[in-house]
Symmetry: C3
Amino acid sequence: MDIVEKRLQDLGIELPKPPTAVANYLPYVKTGDLLYVSGTLAMKAGEMSHTGKVGETQSVESGYEAARNCALNTLSIVKDAIGSLEGVVRCVFLGGYVNAIEGFAESPLVINGASDLFVEIFGEAGRHSRAAVAVSGLPKNSTVEIQCVFEV
Amino acid sequence: MDIVEKRLQDLGIELPKPPTAVANYLPYVKTGDLLYVSGTLAMKAGEMSHTGKVGETQSVESGYEAARNCALNTLSIVKDAIGSLEGVVRCVFLGGYVNAIEGFAESPLVINGASDLFVEIFGEAGRHSRAAVAVSGLPKNSTVEIQCVFEV
Amino acid sequence: MDIVEKRLQDLGIELPKPPTAVANYLPYVKTGDLLYVSGTLAMKAGEMSHTGKVGETQSVESGYEAARNCALNTLSIVKDAIGSLEGVVRCVFLGGYVNAIEGFAESPLVINGASDLFVEIFGEAGRHSRAAVAVSGLPKNSTVEIQCVFEV
């Protein structure tokens, strides 16, 4: 068993099935050594796990869980794309969008739910550059959306 | 006549003139095999075609048309950058921003206006990774803005 | 003294210390020839210089200054990453997020504060592709956030 799979098992994490695109696009595109992964939503077992805005129906804490679920979906796409998570050289960039009330200033704390997972699983290779913003709406009313670029 | 130009002609599509940047930036930058295209707006024949928010002055359907116009402007920049659309190896990534009311959850349906056009024109090479979000405002009050990365 | 450092000096610009990441991510990641720089905020000397929304507590003009401060922080990260700003081949892409009131349409004028600085300092190599949008909230209530990709 490879190291990354072992870490997933040690953490008690089972990757979800890769989500299917919700419209006319692909879950990922590989160009050169870069794997662009499409935006993923807060879904678990094929259902939305977190909908609505942080500051209304969601807290920073539940938003963190939403971001973690996005990251699990992203990883399931990466595994599907390249066969094994061992093939990840580096998480390069994470764009994090938080569905939040006007003026929300804590998007970094929410998006940490995704960032922490990548670091737990990949160690140093999981540490990435990032931008986090609060937006007025997300697909399927998801609480969080993340969009990532990996070096593979 | 090349295949892509023929497809454009068959679809009755005439590319607009490439839009000029609305501020101190370039319409595109090429780095290695990647062509980064600046955000394009819902413009036609040099005028804004769709302004205001989806959910107020625009519907999902008219937003779809706005996204298609953005995509036509993006393609005109790509053609200007590399001489011929035949030079497109792949549409890698499309970032779609929808100017919409608070809590808008249907940005994928709007951004499909751009995605569908790329697939119509390039076929499999036009299928891309994507992220779609709703934002509180866009340049010139455009209804949609898209930002793309191509492999050329 | 290298050309870029001389230009900084001629402009009376002293780069700030590179900002530390406000959460579990890195200030930058290099992959191949691309340097992804994390989102930077409107900070000066370690303190927020501009908070709140353009259209409320900030004007387009003060937003422009906020964007310039973001850009200075970005440059300090670039210098830290590659040792000298001489190593910048090209500013490839700038994603600009403006914390603004609903329907704000002037994000290009605000983000020019960052774009103008890059052109002042790097000349032609500082000209970049760009997307500017208005969002409902930014980390630490910053007025502007920019996220850049450089070729180094």
